[in-house]
Symmetry: C2
Subunit: 351 residues, 2 copies
Amino acid sequence: MPSVDRVESSSESEVLARFTPTLFQRQQSVRQAGFSHLIVGPGDDAAVLDLRGGQTVVTTDTQVENQDFRWRWPSGLTTTGYDIGWKATTQNLADVAAMGAQPVSMVVSISCPKSSPVQFFEDFAQGMVDACAALGAEACTVAGGDLGTSTELSVTVTALGLTPQPVLRSGAHAGDQVAIAGALGTAAAGLALLETEQLPDLEEPALACIAAQQRPQSPLKAGEKARLAGATAMLDVSDGPLKDASRIADASGITIDFETESLRRFITPLENTASLLSNSPEHLALEWVLTGGENHGLLATFPADAELPTEFTRIGTCREKLDSAVTVDGVSVESKGWDHFGQSMVEDLAD
Amino acid sequence: MPSVDRVESSSESEVLARFTPTLFQRQQSVRQAGFSHLIVGPGDDAAVLDLRGGQTVVTTDTQVENQDFRWRWPSGLTTTGYDIGWKATTQNLADVAAMGAQPVSMVVSISCPKSSPVQFFEDFAQGMVDACAALGAEACTVAGGDLGTSTELSVTVTALGLTPQPVLRSGAHAGDQVAIAGALGTAAAGLALLETEQLPDLEEPALACIAAQQRPQSPLKAGEKARLAGATAMLDVSDGPLKDASRIADASGITIDFETESLRRFITPLENTASLLSNSPEHLALEWVLTGGENHGLLATFPADAELPTEFTRIGTCREKLDSAVTVDGVSVESKGWDHFGQSMVEDLAD
């Protein structure tokens, strides 16, 4: 068996040497493309950015092993450093896009066990950089970071973006259209597949659901387009549309009514995958679509007469405030979704 | 025994309710003092800041239990959430100051075990806010964050600052003065005391050394003053002056020569504390001063004819580049200091 370089037998500078070249290459190509936000990259006390082009949005998000992912899932499938770098990027840039802003840069802090292969850092950096390119974050660089040791892997990314005017959660009005850009339910389906022991041989679209969980694609460009189209409120769907819609509803003092009929285009394609795991696939597919997060789609509200950007599909309407923040076809629902403290993705491991 | 509210029996919003009021109060007082960088605080996908006043510096730093601190030290002394919040703030704002910038805002991500007392979040927020006030970071707010679960506590803070022109590590020239603002060696002495079993009853200045380790004071204002006084290079001394000086030397292509005589004012006051732990206290005190980090003093170089700001003490000179990046009284030394991967603060626990 070939020996694996591990963090414990490497110096900090050796580990950095696996990490920073990928980032420098990205900086170079971003500069060549005409973006000049990053003035000083990794290597000093702090990175230096030029953020004078608008208001700055800033968001931060952490992934911890066995909480946010498993290295090896019950299905036998695994998570790579590349996946973690990709997902950390998507999670954060989706928050930037959900403010109607363009992503400009990220910093990353990684704490890892000493037994970690040094290769992890190369894979992680490549995952970040490839996600930026794939998601259309042309201006976005990785400006710097921090490395340290821990007994469990923990990765925190902080992302910065620029916008002339942020789109908040609090601006929706009764009568506004409710619309979604990006996928719904596929990441939740992917999680269910990853967590399933004795998984059957999978084909598309089940494989695409697993990819949606491990390397989510967020429609970043749709965020800025929504702002330009007059979006009154917007957020990143990380905890499921029901729960996230209730956040817009609560912040705006309205009720959001989802229309099952318009959600059908998300539900139907999942029923085949749901049938691998359940005897009532329609019900499971509906649950994935309404309460599954992590696709990092953008949920937005627009004035009744606004023309929706092509990325958006209308899925509901804002109503005068009722007892329930969210209704489905006019019927009250409890806001179901993700709560870090009330539950955990992998409850058994987390306790 | 009174029951303790724990994270596992609280919802995310209940935990947030312990955390955000302290931050909102800080925002209010910062606004009343006339600073208006923070436009939207916690509660949306991202915070919104106005960073159009200069170039932005951004830095990130993580603390992990048993790696960067122990909840209970061998001495029997303990670490509180307040200490962790304070130290996370100082670590990050010192990096901002070391770029010659003024701190503007921070975001924080906390991952904690489900058994953590909810009180931790209140203490942590208070520690951050009090550190901002104590260090003179008048404009600095906590703009937002992320909470999640983990099996070990991990806290990542990202800080932002503004400057008309950053001071990098690479600008030192042969002939420049080398100077330090802030304390040297006391945080290392504090760590040694905390790690000592059967600690004798302590009095000042030993108690001050423990405070320097747990709630470090960085001379933030000195960073901007150094820039205005023409500092050619600067960094935050987090890994010990020998190692950190070698970083300036390497980046600038020079050698830094420390003068023991001018370090005497840092060494002598530590000898009494060193005598509690060693039979050769002069040697131990010298080691603390030369290789101990975490005081977050600012090490800077200035032109030979520059008048040093009052916070700075001259401790050496920049020379033409020699084989060794750092010398002491003209004698080569290996760059000793902190390496996260080569060693660990609490080696026995970290393996």
